[in-house]
Amino acid sequence: MNIELSKCAPAAVALTGGAILAATLFSQHPNRIFDRFRKLDQIGFWIPNWRFFAPEPAMSDFHILHRTLSADDFESPWEESHVVTPRKATHLFWFPDRRIDKGIFDVASELVSHLGAQEALILNSPAYRVLRSFVRHRIQSSAHPPLAGFQFLLARSTGVDTSAEPEEILTSPFIPWEAEHVNDHT
């Protein structure tokens, strides 16, 4: 049995590794329309994506803002639902807030990629629903009067370079508070 294993295992590892390497190589085209193999990877984990910051890097920050409408018709001003963590030297070793900052970046990027699609598709996309729930819980976690509903906004800015105006990307429809509580779980 051991003799068999010693003969087969190196070949099996070489063939499997070779196949994954070949699939990885053929999944790195600058144009993502060529990502046929990657589509087979439903989790998006087995075939590495080495196109970091390429062909075009992220040169903008995304911002999520929300405003609420109270039960007695008072509309609050827009406020940021999440503020990206400013850089610190310690981030080289320890940066627990990176996950949520990156999460906001991922969810916003996904929504931007849906922008040309039909409204119903955007509103039912996982990214939109996750963001809607995220904003709702952010509002819920702060003290507020009884609410009729809320609205959120996705915007893009050039970060510390303030020479350009932030750009509004997507504004949600008005979301009734009670209905949203139900939608969260459907």
Binding site: A9, P10, N31, A54, D61, P86, V130
Partner: protein
């Protein structure tokens, strides 16, 4: 003396890294363990990010993975319960510490296996917020798990070679793909990234902001180092030290300035494998040979499949009619059966980057009293383009030749064009010596659309960018890598395969690119010209979403209809809920289009 010192220094720089198999495995697993340890500790430090209402709310995120099998979903559901996720993370911290402390080989194998397995199980759960360091540390832990589970020198060599080649791919791909980005080529990418709060650093941005040459130099130096990294495998180890030193410094800088500390240890975990794979120690090279064979085999398979697709597309000739136009192009067209020879004939002109089969729903929904003709423009599908020109005028002339090729005694001729096809049929109707009874514009282009619509101009820029490298890649035989487009599933089943074959065929993209260039020139020339009035009845069909997305489109479509006002029965129809493409690909929208066409033909046909 100084010369000797310089010589010794240069020699030491270009000497392969003498690292043994076991040491390489240990360094790989320990650097990966530091990444896993930091990652899990960071997750546990922010437990709210796993709960309801966070970006990691599994009840919402699980939809994304609903196509996975039942047992996979069951495993993910279990691991994604907040209490289980936290327990797994504590376990990952324990496993990482096991690898960082002196421990037995079996314990190390188990720890690596646990880290690899839990990385895979938690990746969907933490979907929003994962990054490249998670992928790399998974690769490293998996490789060492295999190497430690099967303690065979050849297996361990294969495992280390695999990781080393993935590292070479990581840097090489990152460098080469950046070359396709205008901001990397110009150097704007460095200050562009550094100005962001998410990934940047204000201090670094201030250094580069007013120094474009320095920014360009930094960007190009990075591209050069990344792009040339794979040379390390062709230098007998002599370039290992310079490249590994660069990579270490690079990741430390990136980690500090961009907040990507975990990238330093995760990518660092692949470097001992590179050092081992490239040094002069005797080792098995089975994996690089297998990988080379598979890449070569895949390229051959790609070329063969491209040839088979071409044969399949050319096979369309057998069931079609061909006509050689006065320009020398050969058009292949298909007649749908009609009840009588003198039944009205509807010739359907497809849009850019499209196929005649896109009209399948409309053809199916039209009444049998109409004979339809679908054909591929010169250069598309089975039709040949011998002239090398793809302009609207040339295509219209070809269409006129096709109309004249129809048997004598055929019924009244109507022309319908979708998108760019609308402009072609309009032009053909103007120059055709045979009477055209009516024109149907299906969400048609307009000669002045780029001049008058900023949205169309933005779309044109995006389309031009999309074509860059695309048609070249298709000609190189990359068509088999094109993913199956989702819209294809909306077309009738019998045509899906042939449409997919054309979609993955280089000819479609070559023709599309050439046509787009000609069309841009046409738009530039026609920007200030008003539409010539025509006395042919017209039906202008618009997709509601097209009009909703760009108010200029409503004006342009109204102008198209207005240019036919002299003729009776000119009608405008808006298909509710339809998009530009769904007018053809959605069976319900296509039925509504067919209904509008049938009504129009009935009115015009009565007059004829």
């Amino acid at each position: 003396m100084a010369r000797q010192l310089v010589r010794r220094f240069i020699k030491s720089v270009f000497t392969p890294v003498s690292i043994g198999r076991e040491d390489a495995l240990t360094y790989v697993e320990q650097l990966a363990a530091i990444t896993h340890l930091t990652s899990s500790a960071e997750y546990l430090a922010r437990p709210k990010n796993m709960e309801e209402g966070s970006l990691g709310d599994w009840r919402l995120n699980r939809e994304r993975f609903s196509t996975l099998g039942a047992w996979q979903m069951c495993a993910l559901d279990t691991c994604s319960r907040p209490v289980v996720t936290k327990a797994i993370h504590w376990g990952r911290i324990g496993a990482s510490l096991t690898l960082l402390a002196p421990s037995g080989k079996q314990a190390r194998a188990a720890a690596n296996g646990y880290l690899a397995l839990t990385s895979a199980l938690l990746y969907p759960r933490h979907h929003y917020g994962t990054d490249g360091s998670d992928q790399v540390s998974f690769q490293s832990s998996t490789v060492v798990f295999v190497a430690r589970t099967v303690p065979n020198a050849k297996v361990q060599d294969a495992a280390l070679w695999y990781l080393a080649l993935q590292s070479g791919l990581a840097y090489g791909v990152s460098g080469w793909v950046k070359l396709f980005g205008p901001s990397w080529r110009s150097g704007q990418a460095v200050p562009g990234v550094m100005r962001t709060v998410t990934y940047g650093h204000k201090g670094v941005w201030e250094i580069f902001e007013d120094r474009p040459r320095l920014a360009a130099t930094a960007a190009h130096a990075m591209l050069l180092a990344e792009g040339l990294f794979p040379l390390v495998f062709f230098s007998k180890g002599r370039l290992a030290r310079p490249f590994l030193t660069w990579a270490t410094l690079f990741h430390t800088f990136i980690g500090a300035s961009m907040g990507l500390g975990r990238f330093a240890t995760s990518f660092g975990s692949m470097l001992p494998a590179v050092a081992y794979a490239t040094n002069e120690r005797a080792k098995s090279a089975a994996l690089p040979k297998a990988a080379g064979c598979m890449v070569g085999g895949a390229i051959v398979a790609g070329v063969v499949s491209a040839a088979r697709r071409r044969v399949r597309i050319k096979g369309l000739r057998h069931s079609s009619v061909s006509v050689t136009t006065s320009s020398g192009n050969e058009l292949i067209y298909t007649w749908a059966p009609g009840p009588d020879d003198d039944a009205p004939v509807l010739i359907l002109e497809h849009g850019m980057l499209s196929t005649p089969e896109h009209f399948a729903w409309i053809v199916e929904a039209l009444p049998r009293t109409v004979r339809t003709v679908t054909y591929a423009r010169a250069g598309y599908g089975a039709s040949g383009n011998t002239t090398g020109t793809y302009g609207i005028e040339e295509s219209a002339d070809d269409l006129v030749d096709l109309i004249n090729d129809l048997p004598r005694g055929t019924g009244p001729v109507f022309l319908a064009g979708h998108s760019l096809g609308g402009l072609i049929v309009r032009r053909a109707a103007q120059v055709c010596n045979r009477t055209i009874e009516g024109i149907i514009y299906i969400d048609s282009s307009h000669p002045a659309q780029l001049a008058r619509s900023s949205r169309q101009r933005d779309g044109a820029v995006q389309l031009s960018q999309a074509f860059q490298g695309l048609s070249g890649s298709m000609r190189l035989g990359f068509g088999w890598l094109l993913e199956r487009p989702t819209w294809l599933n909306s077309l009738p089943c019998p045509v899906q395969d042939i449409v997919l074959a054309q979609y993955r065929d280089a000819k479609l993209w070559t023709a599309g690119r050439a046509e787009w260039r000609s069309t841009q020139r046409y738009f530039a020339q026609a920007r200030n010209q008003s539409l010539v009035a025509m006395d042919i009845p017209a039906l202008v069909i618009s997709a509601q979403k097209t009009l909703d997305a760009d108010e200029v489109q409503a004006v342009l479509h109204a102008e198209l209809a207005g240019s036919h006002r002299q003729a009776p029965w000119t009608t405008e129809v808006v298909i509710p809920g339809a998009t530009h493409d769904s007018l053809l690909t959605n069976s319900e929208h296509a039925s509504e289009v067919a209904e509008a066409i049938a009504e129009f033909l009935e009115k015009s046909g009565a007059a004829a």
